[in-house]
């Protein structure tokens, strides 16, 4: 084990190398570029035994990775923003084919106008596709979760592709000390590749031709949903196993911070969870009992884990870094729907902040939460469920 200063992007590249990925296919886009560059360097220097397919587009990047994975080897790709939307057709196809592979998404807002800064519009746009989707808070989590994602996605109870998300620049280009596990440790942890089927010459296998029976076709969709539900247990098992090997447990689908005695909860995901921790500490010193629920996996959605914490809460404030225009933030929509479906009557509010990369500090978060909590303490409810927060 060795601790190295690594950017989030290099952490993703090291994880792909340690996972013994055999085919990398990627097309450069800011801010994902240094993942591709690092992997190209690993391969050319002979440090990584893999083939790099230097494709002409993101659509082809995921197509080539999918072809390689369908052919029986571990494959990896990475993208951001417009590139992710360009490959969106393939995103659905890979999940529908039940082919495990892993993609890093360096989250970046969408144009127009051209803008390279982070928000979660791109990654949240994939949430209905059938992929496992997680967001990392720091670079260590990027590395750990990328390796773990191979194990989770290749588990026969799951057999779906997985996304590891990391925020543009805040993680992708920021250097932090990262504990890089030994190859032997990763080899012990990751079994040889498993997948539902492999395309081989001479083996009659048809994937994706027109269905005779639409009930069967609909059942395939339900199977994807059920496998994502089943993935919850796998994610927890793998988290525990990785924790035993490395000492780093994250808590499965969510991670809680100062939740035990909290009356008000804030919910968020991604790099700004680090700022939320500081906001919680600062609010706590002012006597406000706030807890933080960090959503690690947005798909499968940690319904049970979140409900368990907030069942007796006085309020829930969900921070979204993207919006489903005309409705509300996607994280909020999930939380609110599951609260309602479970019959939990707790005031819930959506704060939309940091969209298009607008900087958000821990003071901003504390400020927004303080005002919201004050309102709910005084009136017992939120006068509006949605707030566009632009800073103090």
């Amino acid at each position: 084990m060795v601790v190295k200063p690594l950017t989030g992007n290099y952490a993703a590249a090291y994880a792909a190398k340690l996972s013994r990925v055999k085919v990398v296919a990627a097309y450069p886009i800011t801010p994902q570029t240094t993942i591709v560059e690092k992997l190209a360097q690993f391969i050319e220097d002979g440090e990584m035994d893999a083939k790099m397919i230097r494709v002409e587009s993101e659509h082809s990047a995921l197509a080539a990775a999918y072809g390689a994975a369908s052919g029986g080897v571990r494959a990896f790709t990475a993208t951001s923003s417009q590139g992710l939307l360009y490959m969106h057709e393939m995103v659905w196809w890979v999940a529908g084919s039940r082919i495990p592979l892993v993609m890093a998404i360096v989250t970046r807002t969408l144009g127009p106008p051209w803008n390279i800064w982070t928000d979660h519009s791109d990654i949240m746009d994939q949430r209905d596709s059938g992929w496992l989707i997680m967001m990392a808070e720091h670079n260590q989590e990027v590395l750990d979760e990328t390796i773990k994602m191979f194990k989770i996605t290749e588990d026969p109870r799951v057999f779906l592709p997985g996304i590891v998300g990391l925020d543009a620049f805040i993680l992708s280009h920021t250097t932090e000390p990262v504990d890089i596990p030994d190859q032997e440790l990763v080899d012990t942890f990751l079994p040889p590749r498993r997948q539902p089927y492999v395309f081989k010459p001479g083996d009659s296998l048809l994937m994706g031709n027109v269905p005779r029976n639409l009930k069967e076709n609909m059942r395939m969709r339900e199977d994807i949903h059920n496998s994502l539900e089943a993935a919850k247990k796998v994610i927890e098992e793998v988290d525990e196993e990785w924790g035993k090997l490395t000492g780093r447990r994250y808590g499965g689908l969510i991670e809680c911070y100062r939740c035990e005695d909290a009356s008000h909860f804030i919910v968020g995901m991604g790099a700004w969870v680090g700022d939320m921790r500081e906001a919680v500490d600062s609010l706590r010193t002012n006597g406000i009992k706030v807890g933080l629920i960090k959503v690690r996996y947005v798909r499968p959605f940690p319904r049970e884990d979140i409900l368990k914490w907030v069942v007796n809460a006085k309020s829930v404030i969900v921070f979204d870094r993207s919006v489903s225009a005309g409705s509300a933030g996607p994280l909020f929509l999930d939380v609110a729907a599951h609260l309602m479906a479970a019959g939990i009557r707790v005031p819930v509010k959506n704060i939309l902040a940091g969209i298009t990369g607008l900087d958000v500090t821990y003071e901003d978060i504390a400020d927004a939460v303080l005002k919201s909590v004050a309102e709910v303490e005084e009136t017992g409810k939120f006068s509006r469920f949605i707030e566009w927060y632009y800073g103090r």
Binding site: R54, E56, K200, S204, L206, G208, R212
Partner: protein, 297 residues
């Protein structure tokens, strides 16, 4: 070495009772593909008629393993499969089988990318000269003057010279073929399979439904395309161009049949005027002049 009937396996890798239309040229092509390459094939199929011809899930008429993929992705998926098979040490011939849309239009950037990278695959463009699967809409490979459901008075633009565009990618192997000349096609497939790198075969595939001719005449129409010089059979190994035997006589303009013999069989050309026919005749002459300049002396 020329292929003869005796060289061909009896086992069929395309089963009868598949979902192709009567007289379907793609079904012929798929049959010849199996005869040429046997059980080494892994087929990658973008959206198109072949998505339908293979039949309904959970059944299927294809014996060769087949991966159906989105329209613009076939060559990239095939490149990935090919990379995996090479890494695993399996002897496979990965074939992307796309129509004129999946090859020359929506699939073109993917095709060009795989060609430039020299990915170890064969791309076959099965060219029925329009988007037949969606109901006969024009493509960049529809010829001048042809009726389609998006060119009711006949297409006003020329057919794109796709084989020459692929030749200019400097890939190890480019060939044209026709469902009317199966032995020539099979020989080209076998040669392509023996070469490492990117191989492109453009298969002319007259479609009775879309071209409006009797389904019993698919092969006749295909042959007339060659005999009138409207479709030129050639191959290029490492850029070295040779005219293939069935087309050789027609390098001499006087040996070519009048293009009216080809045109009159097809309802899609029924609105052609005398001037339109002159334009098509000139296109034939131009195509021959170009290819003969490229032929290695």
């Amino acid at each position: 070495m020329p292929v003869t009937l005796r060289d061909l396996p009896k086992e069929k890798l395309l089963l009868p009772g598949n979902a192709s239309c009567p007289g379907c040229p793609e079904a012929l092509g798929l049959k010849y593909l199996g005869m040429a390459l046997g059980k080494k094939i892994i087929l990658v199929v973008p959206a198109g008629c072949t998505s339908i011809i293979q039949g309904l899930m959970p059944g299927g008429a294809f014996i060769y393993p087949t991966l159906n993929v989105p329209f613009a992705s076939s060559d990239a998926v095939a490149a990935g499969v090919s990379a995996a098979k090479e890494i695993l040490g399996e002897d496979a011939v990965v074939v992307a089988w796309g129509g004129d849309g999946g090859t020359a239009d929506i699939g073109f950037a993917t095709l060009s990318g795989a060609a430039e990278r020299n990915d170890n695959i064969i791309h076959i463009c099965v060219d029925n000269e329009a988007y037949m699967n969606t109901g006969i809409q024009r493509s960049s490979l529809t010829p001048y003057g042809a009726w389609t459901t998006t060119t009711w008075r006949g297409k006003r633009e020329n057919k794109k010279e796709l084989p020459l565009i692929m030749l200019m990618h400097k890939v190890p192997y480019v060939a044209t073929a026709s469902v009317g000349y199966p032995l020539d096609f099979i020989a080209k497939l076998r040669k392509a399979a023996s070469i490492k790198g990117f191989k492109f075969i453009h298969l002319h595939a007259p479609c009775p439904v879309g071209w409006r001719f009797d389904p019993s005449k698919t092969v006749e129409v295909a042959k007339l395309a060659v005999e009138t010089g409207m479709w030129i059979l050639f191959e290029a190994e490492n850029g070295k161009v040779t005219i293939s035997p069935p087309s050789r006589p027609y390098a001499d303009k006087s040996k070519r049949k009048p293009i009216e013999e080809y045109i009159k069989l097809q309802g899609r050309f029924r609105t052609l005027t005398k001037d339109d026919i002159k334009i098509l005749e000139k296109a034939v002459d131009d195509a021959w002049n170009t290819i003969l300049k490229l032929v290695s002396k």
